[in-house]
C-alpha cells in the first residue's frame, strides 16, 4: 500500500490528522503504525484530529478505541479532537460510545488536556 496517514511528532506527543475517507486497511495500518511509534518514541500522549471526517462509522470508532487502549497499555494518553456535530449526533443514535476515548473540541484544548495529564480523569470507562 502506497499511502499512509502521516504521524507527526511534537515533543513527547504524537499528532495525527485524518484528512481522507479511509478504507479499512488504511485505518488498520494507522492503528498499527501509531502503536509502533508510541513504543519507538516513548510518547506520553497521542492526539488524533478528526475534524476533516464527515463520517465516523463503527469501524473507525473501533479503531479509535483500540488506539486509546493500546496507547494506555504503553502508558500514553489519547485525545480525539474536532468531532463534527452531525457525526456526534449520528454516533449517539448509532449507540456507539467510544470507550476509553477522551475528546476535546480542537487541537489547542486537546493538547492542554494531554499536557496537564487530565486525560486519565476524564476518559469514559472502557
Amino acid at each position: 500500500m502506497s499511502e499512509h496517514i502521516p504521524i507527526l511528532r511534537l515533543g513527547e506527543f504524537l499528532l495525527v490528522s485524518i484528512q481522507v475517507d479511509m478504507h479499512d486497511t488504511l485505518a488498520l495500518d494507522l492503528q498499527d503504525r501509531l502503536t509502533a511509534k508510541v513504543v519507538e518514541t516513548g510518547a506520553r500522549g497521542v492526539l488524533i484530529d478528526i475534524s476533516a471526517l464527515d463520517v465516523v462509522d463503527s469501524f473507525v470508532g473501533r479503531m479509535l478505541s483500540n488506539i486509546a487502549r493500546m496507547a494506555s497499555l504503553l502508558d500514553a494518553q489519547t485525545v480525539v479532537v474536532g468531532m463534527r456535530p452531525a457525526v456526534a449526533i449520528t454516533l449517539v443514535e448509532l449507540g456507539l460510545s467510544l470507550p476509553r476515548v477522551c475528546t476535546a473540541l480542537d487541537v489547542d484544548q486537546g493538547m492542554r488536556l494531554l499536557r496537564t495529564g487530565l486525560v486519565e480523569a476524564l476518559a469514559p470507562p472502557g
Partner: protein, 134 residues
C-alpha cells in the same frame, strides 16, 4: 410511489465501501437532505456495505431516488449471496462491543433510517432494504 433515479454499484472490496459512502453522500445532497440526515444515511450505508462485503462475501447495492407525492426519499438495497443471517432477532439486538453475536451492528443501522427491511435465511444470502425520507 415513483422511482425517479436508479443506480447499481458493486460491493466487492473495501474500496467499494468507500465508493458507496461517497455515492450515498452525493445522492443525499442532491435530494436536499439536511446535513445530519445525510450523515446518518452515509453511516448506515457504510455499516451495511461493509457487512455485505465482509460477511456476505461480496454483493451489490441498489440506489433509488423515490417520490411519494410531495415526499422525497432515498432507498438503498444491499444484496449478497453469502451465508445468510441465522438469527435475525439477535442480530438486530446486537451492539458493537464484544457480547457475542456477529457484531454486525444491524440494530444501530436500523436506528439511523426510517424504513428497514431484511430478507435472509441460512444459505440463502441476505437482502437489506433501508430508506430515509424528507
Amino acid at each position: 410511489m415513483v422511482v425517479r433515479k436508479h443506480q447499481v454499484l458493486p460491493v466487492k472490496s473495501e474500496k467499494d465501501v468507500v465508493t458507496v459512502r461517497q455515492e450515498v453522500r452525493r445522492w443525499a445532497v442532491e435530494l436536499a437532505f439536511s446535513l445530519v440526515e445525510q450523515t446518518k444515511l452515509v453511516t448506515a450505508a457504510s455499516e451495511l456495505a461493509r457487512n455485505t462485503f465482509q460477511y456476505g462475501g461480496g454483493g451489490e447495492v441498489q440506489f433509488e431516488a423515490l417520490e411519494n407525492g410531495v415526499r422525497r426519499g432515498l432507498r438503498l438495497v444491499f444484496e449478497d449471496h453469502g451465508p445468510g443471517i441465522p438469527n435475525v432477532a439477535l442480530a438486530l439486538r446486537d451492539g458493537y462491543t464484544t457480547g457475542g453475536g456477529l457484531g454486525l451492528g444491524l440494530g444501530g443501522a436500523k436506528r439511523l433510517v426510517n424504513d428497514f427491511e431484511i430478507q435472509t435465511a441460512p444459505g440463502e444470502g441476505t437482502r437489506i432494504t433501508v430508506a430515509r425520507w424528507r
